[in-house]
């Protein structure tokens, strides 16, 4: 596959756009604190990232986009834009599972638990094991659950767990009750999405790269999370 990667992250408060070379080398990255403004600011951010990378739209060879979980509106803004650009440019679009890609952005072996605030005391979360080779292995599958319940489920592994994402910061009083928890980064840049897609394709894990939204919650029960 020739051409660069356009990476789009719209599932959280930070709007992220990254441009990678075909081999994954970072050419440009933008992160913008823009809650509720993703639909307005995504295209300007893509334009700015391309300008920083010195590339034009036509030099994009493929797109990686976070397909969730996170803000429902944010997930849709990213997927709609990615699919439209894929259609317009005739290039492939890879929807990346966000929690898995977060864990995959860590290189030190161990247990990692990406957990995104889902309002009240719930989190969109999963537990992965980062190993020497290959993408992280799933230990607890992605789901929306009470943060306490999730951390209890992590306890039997008997090892330190690094909690990544914004849930730990929003619920410090809960997380502090679990001594095996280490607090990891709360935000991940958009570049990790492209890097994950490259690795998933190398490992022929194409199933992970669907463009179906990963809401992790049926719509009838859905209450809106922070909008994009």
């Amino acid at each position: 596959m020739s051409g660069g990667w356009l990476c789009i992250e719209t599932t959280g408060d930070v709007l992220g756009v990254a441009i990678l070379a075909a081999d994954g080398g970072l050419l440009a990255e933008i992160g913008q604190q823009a809650p509720r403004l993703h639909s307005a600011l995504l295209v300007p951010a893509i334009a700015e990232a391309l300008r920083l990378a010195g590339l034009s739209q036509a030099s994009i060879g493929q797109i990686a986009v976070n397909r969730g979980p996170g803000s429902y509106t944010g997930i849709r803004i990213g997927l709609a834009a990615a699919e439209a650009m894929g259609e317009a440019l005739g290039i492939p679009v890879y929807g990346v599972p966000g929690l898995w890609a977060s864990a995959a952005s860590r290189s030190l072996e161990g247990l990692y638990a990406p957990a995104l605030d889902a309002r009240r005391e719930d989190a969109f979360c999963a537990l992965y094991e980062v190993r020497r080779d290959g993408l992280p292995a799933e230990r607890i599958g992605p789901g929306m659950r009470p943060l306490r319940e999730f951390l209890e489920a992590c306890r039997p592994f008997g090892r330190p767990v690094e909690v990544m994402g914004d849930a730990a910061g929003r619920h410090g009083e809960i997380v502090r009750g679990y001594p095996f928890v280490r607090i990891g980064p709360s935000q991940m840049g958009a570049a990790r999405l492209g890097l994950f897609a490259i690795r998933a394709r190398e490992e022929a894990l194409d199933d992970a790269l669907s463009t179906a939204a990963l809401y992790l919650r049926p719509p009838a029960a859905a209450t809106r999370r922070a909008d994009g």
């Binding site: 307005a40 295209v43 739209q57 509106t73 439209a84 939204a213």
Partner: protein, 332 residues
């Protein structure tokens, strides 16, 4: 430039729609994917359900509209998209899709007002000409406005409570009819006698051109409890809706000096209302202008029609254009 085609995108409520319009105004393709089946069980549109379906349907709907017109996506020269009013999450799907497509291709984009676009559905068969008086009545809006140009609109009246289509839906539900209620009431009313039921004629705002359908709705629902036949209630309700629409519209026609009335929006698909309005206008030597069959309810052809007209008037929207769920007072 002469063969430039306009792709219209509409996702403001519960229809995912795309249409392709030629520069000459010829409609080449128009696809509307309805979600009625999806929302029926809830008795109304559930915003999160609607937004999810829009994302699933938008790509296929655009491809189908292009295929219908035998058009390649390379032939598109302009994008028109609904930016509001409507459901925020639903609007953002169409807007994000449209902006990204236009940006990737380096095409101009024009964001349009959904209600003003409804009035422009009447210009799908005939070239736009301004000024024109428009009455847009649907499940979400009842607006009477003077179109002074594609981007210049003077609001004369609007519903102070329920939209006309909303009243149709609610009365239909109380009569045990399905959703949407408009077609069900129209067909039931054909065998009904409007004279058997007395419904209020709303004169609360006699000095203004505003509408009110809430009291009428409640009164119609009350007749059911009095044991009146549903077909007579349906007929009386429709007649009362007509009276109110015509009272305001005829006053607005006199005030503005317009020689014709555009009647658009989902409620304008009602054959009884079309017929009565046409008759009343003809008696005064005036004309009724309605959208072509199938373009009263939400569609993307009307979005493309207004977008193309705005583009020709020099309008361009910036890349940071956002959704406008509530446009009040509404602007184009």
């Amino acid at each position: 430039m002469n063969d430039l085609l306009c792709l219209g995108i509409e996702t403001s409520c519960d229809e995912t729609a795309a249409a392709v319009l030629g520069r000459d105004g010829r409609l080449l393709g128009s696809v509307v994917a309805s979600q009625i089946d999806l929302h029926e069980a809830f008795g109304g549109v559930v915003p999160e359900v609607a937004a999810r379906r829009h994302l699933e349907r938008i790509g296929p709907v655009v491809r189908e509209a292009l295929a219908q017109g035998g058009v390649r996506s390379e032939d598109i020269g302009l994008i028109a998209v609904t930016r509001g009013p409507g459901l925020a999450g639903a609007l953002m799907v169409g807007l994000s899709w449209a902006k990204a497509f236009a940006f990737a291709r380096g095409l101009p984009i024009v964001g349009v007002n959904h209600v003003v676009a409804h009035a422009h559905a009447a210009y799908l068969d005939t070239a736009p000409s301004y000024p024109d008086l428009a009455l847009v009545a649907s499940g979400g809006h009842t607006d009477l406005f003077l179109l002074e140009g594609p981007t210049k609109v003077r609001v004369l009246g609007r519903s102070r409570d329920d939209a006309a289509g909303e009243a149709f839906d609610k009365v239909a539900r109380s009569l045990g009819l399905g959703y949407p209620g408009g077609p069900a009431i129209e067909s039931l009313a054909r065998d009904g006698d409007a004279g058997r039921a007395v419904l209020p004629r709303v004169g609360l705002f006699r000095d203004s051109l505003d509408f009110s359908f809430s009291g009428l709705k409640t009164a119609a629902q009350g007749l059911r409890r009095q044991g009146l036949a549903p077909r007579d209630i349906a007929a009386a309700f429709q007649a009362a809706v007509f009276d109110q629409l015509w009272e305001r519209a005829s006053l607005a026609l006199r005030q503005t000096g317009c020689r014709r009335l555009i009647f658009a929006g989902g409620v304008s698909a009602n054959g009884y209302l079309r017929e009565r309005l046409g008759e009343a206008l003809r008696r005064q030597g005036l004309a009724l202008l309605v959208p072509p069959i199938g373009h009263s309810t939400d569609n993307a052809a009307m979005i493309a029609r207004l977008g193309l007209t705005m583009y020709e008037a020099g309008e361009r929207s910036p890349w940071d254009m956002g959704a406008e769920p509530v446009i009040h007072p509404f602007k184009p």
